[in-house]
C-alpha cells in the first residue's frame, strides 16, 4: 500500500508579542474506513480565465462519504488575481495569488463537484486529488 504523508507548518513571529506561533501537524492519508494507503492520485495545472467557471475534476463515483483530499494552489504572481472554489456546489472560499488549500472532500454522490471560478486575471493553478476509489469514465459509443 502506498503511503502519502501531508505535513503542515504555520508560523508567525509577530502575531502575538512575545509568543511566536509554530503549528505543526502531520497525517498519513487513509482510505475510506481507515485503511492506510491512498493509492490513486490525479495532479496537474491549468489556467483559469476571468469568469470561467467549471469542474476541476471529472465527476466521481457515487461513493457515500468516500475519502478524498484536494490540494489547490493559485500560482499566480499578481496579488490582485484570485479565484473562487466550491465543493458540493457550495461556495467555500477564495484563493488569491500564492494561496493554497488542503481540504478533505466527500464524494457523497456523483454530482458532488469540485468547481473553480476565475474572478480576475488568468489564474494559473496547480492541483491534486488523492482518491480512495475511482471509476474511469465509460467509453462513448
Amino acid at each position: 500500500m502506498a503511503t502519502t504523508i501531508a505535513t503542515v507548518s504555520i508560523t508567525s513571529g509577530d502575531l502575538t508579542p512575545g509568543s511566536p506561533l509554530a503549528v505543526n501537524a502531520t497525517s498519513t492519508l487513509m482510505k475510506t474506513g481507515l485503511t492506510t494507503g491512498m493509492t490513486m492520485m490525479e495532479m496537474g495545472s491549468v489556467d483559469i480565465a476571468k469568469d470561467y467557471e467549471g469542474q476541476l475534476f471529472a465527476d466521481g463515483p457515487a461513493t457515500d462519504n468516500g475519502a478524498y483530499f484536494i490540494y489547490i494552489c493559485n500560482k499566480s504572481t499578481d496579488a490582485t488575481y484570485y479565484m473562487e472554489y466550491k465543493l458540493h456546489e457550495t461556495e467555500i472560499g477564495r484563493l488569491y495569488a500564492g494561496d493554497w488549500m488542503w481540504v478533505p472532500y466527500n464524494a457523497s454522490d456523483a454530482d458532488a463537484e469540485v468547481e473553480v471560478k476565475g474572478k480576475t486575471g488568468i489564474n494559473t493553478i496547480e492541483y491534486a486529488m488523492f482518491k480512495s476509489a475511482w471509476t474511469l469514465p465509460a467509453a462513448e459509443a
Partner: protein, 128 residues
C-alpha cells in the same frame, strides 16, 4: 501587520513511480479577528460548534481531528466539516488536518461528530 507563513509538504515514495515530494509556502498579511490555536469538542449537532461565523474577508482556518473525545479517550469517528447551513463538504479522520481559505457569503464553518464527541484543534486568521 503580522505575517503568517503556512507551508504544506506532501511526500510519498510509492504512490507513483515518480516520487512525490514537494512543498508550497504562502506569506499572508493578517489582521483581526484571529483565533490562536484552541481546542473544541464537537457533538452530533453542527450548530453547537461553529468555529467561525460568516465574514466579508478571507479567513484561513486550520482544523485537526485530535483522535480523542476529550484529549485522552480515543475515538475513530469522523469529524464532519460543514457550512452553517448544515451542508457537509468533507470530513476528517482521526489525526487528519486541513487548511481552508474560507469566504462563503453569509455562511460560516461548523464541526459535527458522526457519533459521540470529538475534540478538535483549530485556529483562524483573517486576511488584511
Amino acid at each position: 501587520m503580522p505575517t503568517l507563513t503556512p507551508t504544506l509538504t506532501l511526500t510519498s515514495s510509492d504512490v507513483t513511480s515518480d516520487e512525490l515530494n514537494f512543498s508550497v509556502t504562502d506569506s499572508l498579511t493578517v489582521t483581526a479577528p484571529s483565533q490562536s490555536l484552541s481546542t473544541v469538542v464537537a457533538d452530533t449537532t453542527g450548530a453547537n460548534t461553529i468555529l467561525k461565523a460568516a465574514s466579508s474577508a478571507v479567513t484561513y482556518i486550520f482544523i485537526r481531528h485530535t483522535g480523542t473525545t476529550d484529549g485522552s479517550t480515543g475515538t475513530s469517528q469522523l469529524l464532519a466539516l460543514e457550512n452553517t447551513d448544515n451542508t457537509q463538504f468533507g470530513s476528517l479522520k482521526a489525526g487528519e488536518w486541513c487548511f481552508i481559505p474560507h469566504l462563503s457569503g453569509s455562511l460560516g464553518i461548523q464541526l459535527q461528530s458522526a457519533l459521540g464527541s470529538i475534540q478538535a484543534e483549530y485556529g483562524y486568521w483573517t486576511a488584511s
